[in-house]
């Protein structure tokens, strides 16, 4: 296991790659080399361009300029099938499975073993799947449909898929985010075995200790630019964070001290069968409460049920002491709740509509008279908020779709803040936006709290949780397993609770 910079030809490489989506430059002049038998880490914050880089290697995106090199020779992947045929296996952060098809079919789709006349050998497909599950040490039935599998099990299916063809390059985008400690250990031993057989591995994880445990070299990206490629030996976690962030953390998390007032939002024993169970918490005025946990722990679902988008099976939500009618977002809005959803493109904005129209949507009754929308009021409301949030835009009548991710997020915030809420629920407020805007969003949330707003913030970004929250609630597999005051919340304590390593968490599972 040599730790030095390997020599020889990289099996897969990027050279000077640029990629833009509309006005957003996702990758600028990025290079990367993957060598056989080496595990390479890709580090960078959310929105640094890691996912775009992976999708370029996987043949999903084609670079605007620059080259993809396979065994030193330039190649063009016309689609994911080309990359797969070149021996590149990708495990995406969010499993993409066919819910209606069996696990075996999910793994072997398009590559099923065949008998004479091109007929699928169903028995061989099932046997091969069972063998893969054996190799991964899990007991999933090959015939079970993928619908309803837990995130961890879906991840296992994705991993089995990657193993099922002898990949020369294995790319893993946060494969451990939803796994428990023992599942992670098992995954790592499989990866080690593949690496020993000469496969190249590209590994992404927000858990720095995993990077140091598994990988030999690391490439860091920041805001779509290449920062460094270097051996991990001799680096410390702090070195790596400094390369990723490129500035002091204090500046990114401008937390103001606030006076905590009376309870604004109170959730009692909220339950949605099979999703989350018995969730109770309070959020008081002037307080930022973070809801942390792994992907799939049920945080977004709790927010949706609180706001009434999804109906809870049991439990009660009170806003300002008054019980909220369940299953009614309009009642929630009237009571002073606002929800900034996780997926701003799908749920937060109408992409084809203008900035002013989007901001106006939440207050149509306030900007209209006699049943007609008054354009001047609509424009005034939008202009007011655009200034307050330092929105960067051409004209207010421009489509929201042309704005950058960070500015789109500001429009969603403006849309909800314009309703003058008492409680703001934000779901992943800074996912996929650049560091500069991220700091602005943080400053905004902090000053809003100082003005007496109650903020419930769902975030998978641990530094954000630790930097912004007065209190941290941690969910694990649909249950609230820990409540940590700011002073006690550390990366270790939150992760321990989120992965169910605390005694309480184990019992709950």
């Amino acid at each position: 296991m040599s730790q030095a910079v390997p020599t020889g030809v990289p099996v897969l490489a990027l050279k000077g790659v640029n990629k833009s989506f509309g006005a957003v430059r996702a990758l600028r002049d990025v290079s990367l080399e993957l060598f056989p038998g080496e595990a390479h880490a890709l580090a960078g914050e959310n929105g640094a361009g890691k996912s775009t880089l992976i999708k370029t290697l996987a043949g999903v995106h084609r670079p605007d300029s620059g080259q993809v090199l396979l065994d030193g020779a330039p190649v063009v992947f016309h689609g994911p099938a080309d990359a797969r045929d070149a021996g590149i296996a990708v495990i995406y952060q969010e499993p993409t499975l066919f819910p209606d098809l069996s696990i075996a079919e999910n793994i072997f789709m398009g590559r099923q073993p065949r008998r004479r006349l091109g007929r699928i050998d169903h028995k061989a497909v099932r046997a091969a799947t069972a063998a893969l599950m054996g190799r991964l040490g899990v007991a999933l039935d090959p015939d079970r449909p993928a619908r309803g599998l837990s995130i961890a099990d879906q991840q296992i299916v994705e991993i089995a898929k990657a193993l099922s063809f002898d990949a020369r390059v294995l790319i893993m985008d946060e494969p451990t985010a939803a796994l428990t400690g023992s599942e992670t250990a098992r995954l790592f031993s499989v990866v080690e075995a593949l690496r020993a057989e000469g496969a190249a591995v590209l590994f992404i994880s927000h858990r720095l200790e995993e990077i140091f445990r598994l990988c030999q070299r690391v490439t860091t990206l920041r805001d779509g630019r290449w920062v460094a490629s270097e051996p991990l030996a001799g680096l410390t976690e702090d070195d790596l964070v400094r390369r990723m962030v490129g500035r002091d953390l204090d500046e990114l998390y401008p937390k103001q001290d606030t006076r905590v007032g009376e309870t604004a939002l109170s959730v009692r024993r909220l339950t949605r069968e099979g999703v989350f169970r018995d969730v109770s918490f309070d959020v008081r005025r002037g307080e930022i409460v973070a809801l942390a946990g792994l992907v799939g722990a049920g945080r977004t679902e709790v927010a949706q049920a609180t706001f009434g988008v999804d109906r809870a099976d049991a439990g009660e939500v009170r806003v300002g002491g008054k019980p909220l009618r369940p299953g009614s977002p309009s009642a929630a809005m009237a009571a002073g709740l606002a929800l900034v959803p996780e997926d701003r493109r799908q749920r937060g904005l109408v992409m084809e509509m203008s900035i002013e129209r989007n901001i106006g949507l939440t207050g149509l009754d306030r900007i209209s008279g006699k049943g007609l929308v008054k354009r001047a009021l609509e424009r005034g409301r939008a202009a007011d908020w655009a200034v307050r949030l330092r929105l960067k835009y051409g004209r207010l009548s421009d489509q929201v779709g042309v704005l950058s991710g960070g500015n789109q997020q500001k429009v969603v915030l403006a849309k909800w803040l314009a309703t003058d809420p008492a409680v703001l629920i934000v779901d992943e407020p800074t996912r996929g936006i650049d560091v500069g805007t991220k700091a602005e969003v943080h400053r905004l949330l902090s000053s809003l709290a100082a003005e007496g707003l109650a903020v419930l913030m769902i975030s998978s970004d641990l530094p954000e949780v630790l930097g912004m929250a007065d209190r941290v609630l941690v969910m694990h597999e649909g249950r609230l397993v820990a409540e940590l005051p700011r002073a006690e919340a550390t990366e270790e304590s939150v992760m321990a609770a989120a992965t169910g390593r605390t005694g309480e968490g184990r019992a709950a599972a």
């Binding site: 994911p80 995406y92 209606d100 098809l101 079919e105 099923q112 699928i120 599998l149 837990s150």
Partner: protein
Amino acid sequence: MTATIDKPTAPAEAGRSARSLVDTVFRAREISIAGALVLLVLFTWIAEPRFLGGQGVKDLLLNAAILVLLAVGQSVVVVTRNIDLSVGSVVGLSAFACGKFVSGTDHGPLLVALLGIAVGAACGLVSGSLVSFGKVPALVVTLGMLYIIQGVDYWWAEGEQINAADVPQSVLDLGSGSVLGIPYLPLISFAVLAATAYFLRTYRSGRELYAIGSSPEAARLAGVPIRRRVLGAYVFSGAVAGFAGSLWLARFGTVVADNAHGWELTVVSAVVVGGVAIVGGTGTVWGAALGALLLTTIGSALSVLKVDSFWEDAIAGALLLAAISVDRIVNVRMTRALRKRSAR
């Protein structure tokens, strides 16, 4: 610690019972349609014994044959999360084209069938190209194609009608002849049905159709050639509809421009009643064929029982709504059940 030790065995049991649950649900769908069919036939037979006389059964099968064929073609499209509303007018155009082709000649049935298939496949190619390469929503494309094909048919026919007297006897024999007492038409439909079912189950391209309907995004990442497969599904559906058109000519002999007018909706109902989810990814052509058989049998039963024919449409509509509601409920329940099993 014990929790981690017995964990591996738990999913295995959950998986096994989950599989039998899913199997039961899906089999239940086809069995319940078959059951409804049997009850309907029994009930009608008791009320009117001639319903199951030799000619009665023959008529039942003949009536169902063309709808079953169309339902098979439609299922292949619906499974990919698309729809083909143009099948009714394709049948009309193909029947008229075949009629024009044979009238006053002695062309054999094989040639007629090939012509019908070619006409239908050409229509399917146009719809399929627009849907798969043009990325226009299938509903709009095939609705447009429905009117265009109908227009072409009217313009070409100019009120003309093809009469059985002009059609060669060999072609008419295909429509009226039988082997061992079973008419040719249902036999042909059954052969197409069985072949399609086998294809969908045992060929990679067949499974990929389900994959596309189940999750287009996952299909793309798995390297499934989505556009080619969707195009293929439309060409198949068109070809089957065209073939059905030539069988229409053989069965009725008399052909006018608006044959099979409005059939597209009956076909879609049959497919959905038969358990092929309109959102794609699930269902079998066997179910769709049973759905088609059920709908035509309801029609025949009502006319035998001398019930007003408008009830036929009302009942078909009610069945359709019931089928979709059942799909939705089953889907929600099953997801919840599977989730609970894997959570345990």
